[in-house]
């Protein structure tokens, strides 16, 4: 049952209020997805991203500008590379998809490249869905969707996503294509960057699977999802919210509209070695897809976070810094140094975390052996024997560590 319309409208209204009057919502871009992956438990990040707040502008307004920026050299080269990969109606891109993912299919000598232009994210999303349905009506053909737009429900609010490309294979299945500008050197690439690309692609795959399920449900309105669990006769999979098998190929009772299959191997395209020639690698994203699916189910609903905010809270960068600071402080953050490379607000959160003396500002692993002690002063007081229960193993270990450290430093001075 869809929720009553008024509720959705109310949330949209509330999120617009949070963003500030006349501030357009920002789409969930690659960085926001990375921040979501790096720190899903952070309520501050969740509400800001959910409301489509421009965190970079917010950070500047708070007086802790983010250090992210893009060099125009990187931008130019990245765009030029993507253009090169997609040139000639995507001939090279489709060749790579065929070679790496679908060698048994007919080679893509020609392909459909529909125009996806439309107004606004909703319009573009609808247009993309339309063209995906249209592609299904052309079995045997290759279709390249250049910068399609997809929508995904993230914590109860729709987020818009823009993959570099989606390819429809002759068998009707769909592949997500990610074009990156880091090099594929002698066949291998920076694992951290490939990991980030895989997590990003997993989000796109989940969004595509929703589109696919809707297509499959047409025209009989028969939703499915039994394809995968039928594998195991005991019906034991009460555990996973998502099955690791590929997306179900559901057939309606009349065997009419098969839901298109979204492939779980995506294509990563990068420059080869030191050149600007494209090289591609298939990346199996089943793991990332399963993890992301579960993460999405575990996110605190934006609505619930929004409800905890005081009336009138607003994150508009137009507001004076002290009002903004108060607004930001009204949502708790879970800062860790990893945020520095993923979230625009990290410097602001870091200074707050340091002010409160939180040991996690020194890195999450620091807390490993500290038990319930969370601030720098508490830990040092316990280590010095000024506070803490000596029967607490954490306190006892701290005192032993402090004594051993003092003994060693003294020995070195002698």
């Amino acid at each position: 049952m869809p929720p009553p319309r008024t509720r959705g409208t109310a949330l949209r209204h509330r999120l617009a209020e949070l963003r500030g009057p006349d501030v357009p919502a920002k789409a969930l871009d690659a960085r926001a997805l990375a921040a979501l992956a790096a720190n899903p438990g952070c309520a501050r990040r969740a509400i800001l991203d959910g409301a489509g707040v421009n965190k970079a502008a917010l950070a500047s307004a708070l007086g802790s500008p983010s250090a992210f920026g893009q060099s125009q050299f990187a931008l130019t080269r990245g765009n030029a590379f993507e253009a090169k990969v997609k040139a000639d109606g995507g001939a090279e891109l489709l060749r790579l998809v065929h070679e790496k993912l679908d060698r048994t299919a007919e080679p893509p000598t020609e392909a459909r490249v529909p125009d996806l232009t439309a107004t606004g994210p909703q319009g573009r999303t609808a247009r993309t869905a339309l063209e995906l349905r249209e592609a299904a009506a052309h079995p045997g053909a290759w279709t390249l969707l250049d910068h399609p737009m997809l929508a995904l429900d993230v914590a109860g609010s729709p987020a818009f996503l823009e993959p570099d490309a989606v390819v429809v294979h002759p068998d009707g299945s769909w592949t997500v294509v990610e074009i990156k500008s880091f090099p594929l050197l002698d066949g291998s690439a920076d694992p951290a960057k490939v990991g980030a690309a895989a997590r990003q692609a997993a989000v796109y795959v989940l969004a595509l699977e929703e589109v696919a399920a809707r297509l499959g449900a047409e025209p009989e309105g028969c939703a499915g999802g039994e394809g995968a669990s039928a594998r195991r006769p005991e019906g034991s999979s009460t555990v996973a919210p998502s099955t690791p098998a590929e997306a179900p190929r559901t057939r309606s009772a009349q065997d009419r509209a098969p839901a298109p299959r979204v492939r779980h191997r995506i294509l990563l395209v990068c420059p080869r070695d030191f050149s600007n020639l494209p090289a591609a690698s298939a990346v199996d994203i089943r793991k990332q897809r399963a993890v992301t699916a579960r993460q999405l189910t575990r996110l605190t609903r934006i609505e619930d976070i929004a409800e905890t905010l005081p009336e009138g809270t607003c994150f508009s960068p137009e507001l004076p810094a002290d009002e903004l600071t108060a607004a930001v402080e009204s949502v708790p953050a879970t800062y860790a140094p990893e945020c520095l490379s993923a979230c625009e607000l990290a410097f602001h959160c870091r200074s707050r975390s340091r002010e409160t003396g939180a040991v996690t500002s020194l890195g999450r692993p620091v807390r490993a052996e500290l038990g319930g002690l969370t601030t720098v002063e508490d830990v040092l007081a316990a280590a010095r024997g000024e506070a803490g229960d000596p029967d607490d193993p954490a306190v006892a270990a701290l005192r032993r560590a402090a004594a051993l450290r003092a003994e060693a430093l003294e020995a070195a001075c002698r």
């Binding site: 899903p40 694992p191 555990v239 996973a240 690698s281």
Partner: protein
Amino acid sequence: MTTLFDPSAAATQATDAILHDTLHGTARGVVVDSPPGAGKSTLVVRAALELAEAGHPLMVVAQTNAQVDDLVLRLAEKNPELPVGRLHSSDADPYDKALDGLENVRKSAKAADLAGLAVVISTAAKWAHVKADEPWRYAIVDEAYQMRSDALLAVAGLFERALFVGDPGQLDPFAIVGSEQWAGLTYDPSASAVTTLLAHNPDLPQHRLPVSWRLPASAAPLVSDAFYPYTPFRSGTGHGDRRLSLAVPSDGSGPDRVIDEAAESGWGLLELPARHTPRTDPEAVRAVATVVRRLLDRAGAATSERSPDPTPLTADRIAVGTAHRDQAAAIRAALADLGVTDVVVDTANRLQGREYDVTVVLHPLSGRPDATAFHLETGRLCVLASRHRHACIVVCRAGVGDLLDDYPSTEPVQLGTGVKFPDGWEANHAVLAHLAEHRVMWRP
């Protein structure tokens, strides 16, 4: 049409196919995946005996001295006449003294002394030092998933063909230094031996033992789903085949209630109040010890397909599993305080390959303020959750779900390496979700 699943028939069929490929096949290697308790040791012993009977000189490679000694003992038990060589290191106490009592087992630190024996068994590390003029016709490589590719490289020249057996779900081998530069290469020295073998020989026959005889019907689906999602297996027994009964009724305490829950359903989660604690959380340690004490006090008895009469649940049928050595030491001390001295308490690494009626596990993430790759490692949780024949009781502080959410999986991805397992983060969530259905909350 559906037919009833006959576990014995399925297992026999798999074993026959494996032995056929091993003895009569043309491929140089045969790979067997064996989920927990699927009869891997039985298979290895049987294959060894059949190869020996067929007159093929055989070398057996295992990974630890304990595994080697165990295999020697099992072989001697099945066929006391078989001449077996135990090749050992030149360290002090290199092998189990029990081997000294076996008439047909010859022990030596020199391979030459054992030449001509039907079967020669040693660790991969020791085999690596052996020089052979003539390679063995046959080899069996046991625990091949726990063997590193470079260890196989060092011994593979000693044999012409081999049967590789192992459990892909247990702890992966690791290197103490970075090995990223070789990731994606077919022969990445830090990968598992099977990964390299199959990358170079993709056409080798691969088999799977489809039935776990150890895990009860209550556990196999969870373990299979959470840890073997792409290679599922089944329990050899049905839901009514195993029973755990307790002569002494519950006193209503948390430990007793969780014991009852586990006896009934096969799983129990004793959940302590959320709190960040050091590794040797005194309350959790005491809770584990108390559960073990009560298991013994309540005179448990296990009924299974093995015998119609209930077998008393004695101390040797119970084990405690932890992630860290200091946790094991703390629990041992707590158990000693309660007068329990003969229950095995060990880390996941050391419990690999072992089997008990009931296990009590201190959850690797209990009370932790952070979750590292070590604690999230899929194999660690898999080992801890798959040692039992009847029931597994997990002791854990509340809040692990939230902790997991704060430590998302951001694993790097190496191009060209295969994906075999669920993510540790994901598997932890899956197990947690299942355990939540068997939760007993307790404030000690």
